[in-house]
Amino acid sequence: MPWTDEELVARSIGGDADSFNELVLRWERPIYALAYRTIGREEDARDVCQETFLRAFRALPGFRGQAKFSSWLYRIALNLCRDWVRRERRTPVVQPPEDIDLIELAAAAEPSESIEDLVARKDLSRLVERAMALLPEEQRTAIVLKEYHGLTFQEISELVGCPLSTVKTRLYQGLTVLRRELAKNHKAQL
């Protein structure tokens, strides 16, 4: 039976580096995805992800289990993303990943998917990215946490430090903007 996060944390605090490695393997993708969707740059998202685990490792002895380990990690990652946005003083700009190789992509595509379908799928994904980049940071964070990480309203409220009704309002406003932008892009493509 696999260890729970809390058990792995306890073992890591006891000096078992493999346990922390297991935690990294378990959470690096969600944290990277959170960072990427928040700041929109692949390389910086990787840096934020690595820095998140470094900070978590350093602060692990102080982790008393008041919150879930995942919530604690999310908080560290979100703080780092916020620092990044402030430091860069710019709106997150979503960029296509480096070195896109359509031939390689085609190899990774579903067997029934043509290269045109693949490009269309990527286009749609990019449209969503662009629309998300237009949102204010708070609305984007709320949507990312709810939509892609499945956090409850209460968890988001605790993570970002605002009342529950504010979380819902941010979600509503963000989704409304996205609806408008996506509809606009859809019309523009027709």
Binding site: E28, F57, L102, R130, K146, Y172, K184
Partner: protein, 270 residues
Amino acid sequence: MTDSYCGYDGNREDALIACLYDDGAETPERAAFDAHLATCGRCRDELASLRGVRAQLARWSPPEPAFARQLSNASPSPIRLSKSSDRAQSATSWRRAPAWAQVAAALLFLGVSAAIANFDVRYDANGLRVRTGWMQPEATPAASAAAPAARPASAAAAAPWQADLAALERQIRSELRDVRTTAAAAAQRPTASDADLLRRVRALVDDSERRQQGELALRLAEALRDISAQRQADLVKIDRTLGVVQNNLGVEVMKDRQRLNLLYRASQRQ
């Protein structure tokens, strides 16, 4: 037809979001909103369109991360990039180096390789000669003629295995000469296998060109779509900015009119 009027008396936004994400809360507010939904077309439509947005959001996946991390007890830092990741990173940074630096590095590498391999290039009356390896330079005809004469004198004093060694050396040299001659002859006349090879290379080049053309067309299509999207976004921004400017201008004009009216009224009274 959607009703434009919604008579829900609670917090409509909260209720819509709670319903959209179906938080499972069995509160009186939720029950009231569910009942309201049955009668309000506007709320139903909005809920449906927000569900559509969620469906589109589900298609956004971040690019695959290129990291594979390892934890090492010996390492002072808990997270260390693996070798493959290091390689990927160094390859990326190499690609980012300016062209002049890449050329300089390549020349340096060639120079060092040539030095290590004892690379010898000569151009004289016999033509261009390139030789590598740790062998002594090939003796000139005069020197090679003198060498056998000198050898017998010293051979008596030398060990008996030296004669065998000399014979072996002569044999290797003659074999090497044969190989060179054969290679030169083969290089001069194209054979059937060369034609085959040429055909295959041509086919490969054609195939590669076709692939590149396809890739270029796809990239162009992508770029055009990007440009179009950017143009749309810019137009929207310009539109918004113009709207703001017009609003500000309208306010200023209104204020000016009010001032003029006041002045006019004041002058009328006088």
